[in-house]
């Protein structure tokens, strides 16, 4: 039951993100190149989340648990990598922007970069550890 609740919650969150994104795209008017890039990353994150949810549904349907001790450990490791990536991106993004492009990043861009870097690092390390083992 707990597994099914988790799966339903995941589907709900992914659907909410997609609905929000589609409202944004429909009302944005002309979408610039950098926005395409950001939208692409959000879609990649949602697709990765859907893959994890699909994997869990597959296991539940076979009568196996959605999560076990190895996957919990994988989750913790991936979370810590995501956290480290977030911290470094918060420090590195304004620095790189300043040094390479001579441009001060605005706060909302830094926040977006931190969220994206953390999310991407989480998903890449999660998928890698889940497939290849520790």
């Amino acid at each position: 039951m707990k597994d099914i609740k988790g799966i339903l919650l995941g589907i709900g969150i992914a659907a909410a993100v997609l609905v929000t994104l589609s409202f944004y795209v429909l009302n944005a008017g002309n979408i610039e190149l950098e926005e395409f890039f950001l939208i692409g990353i959000v879609i990649i994150l949602v697709v990765s989340a859907m893959y994890i949810i699909w994997d869990r549904i597959k296991n539940v349907n076979k009568g196996l648990p959605a999560q076990d001790e190895r996957l919990k450990l994988t989750n913790y490791k991936a979370c810590s990598y995501g956290f480290i990536a977030s911290i470094w991106s918060a420090v590195g993004a304004p620095l790189i922007s300043g040094i390479l492009f001579d441009h001060d990043l605005e706060g909302h861009y830094v926040t977006a970069i931190v969220v994206m870097c953390g999310g991407i690092a989480f998903f890449i390390s999660y998928l890698y550890l889940a497939w290849k083992g520790d």
């Binding site: 296991n59 076979k62 009568g63 196996l64 648990p65 999560q67 076990d68 001790e69 190895r70 996957l71 889940a130 290849k132 083992g133 520790d134």
Partner: protein, 67 residues
């Protein structure tokens, strides 16, 4: 750490999925333990040994890694 899980599974004619269902873990976990890519917790090692009607000592072969 090496394991005799595959050998014992074959003895009882169990697939990885059968064993996973028996002890309540994902099939991939059994696969990774057999390949030596994941060291199970003591509780999981005990459950596997019980499912394969053996002891932890008999199931896992510990190698001295110099620590």
């Amino acid at each position: 750490m090496k394991t005799r899980m595959k050998e014992l599974r074959a003895r009882y004619d169990l697939t990885q999925e059968d064993l996973a269902k028996k002890i309540g873990v994902r099939r991939e976990t059994i696969l990774f333990i057999e390949k030596g890519k994941y060291n199970p917790s003591l509780k999981l090692a005990h459950d596997i040994a019980k499912a394969l009607q053996t002891t932890i000592d008999n199931l896992f072969i510990f190698e001295d890694d110099g620590r």
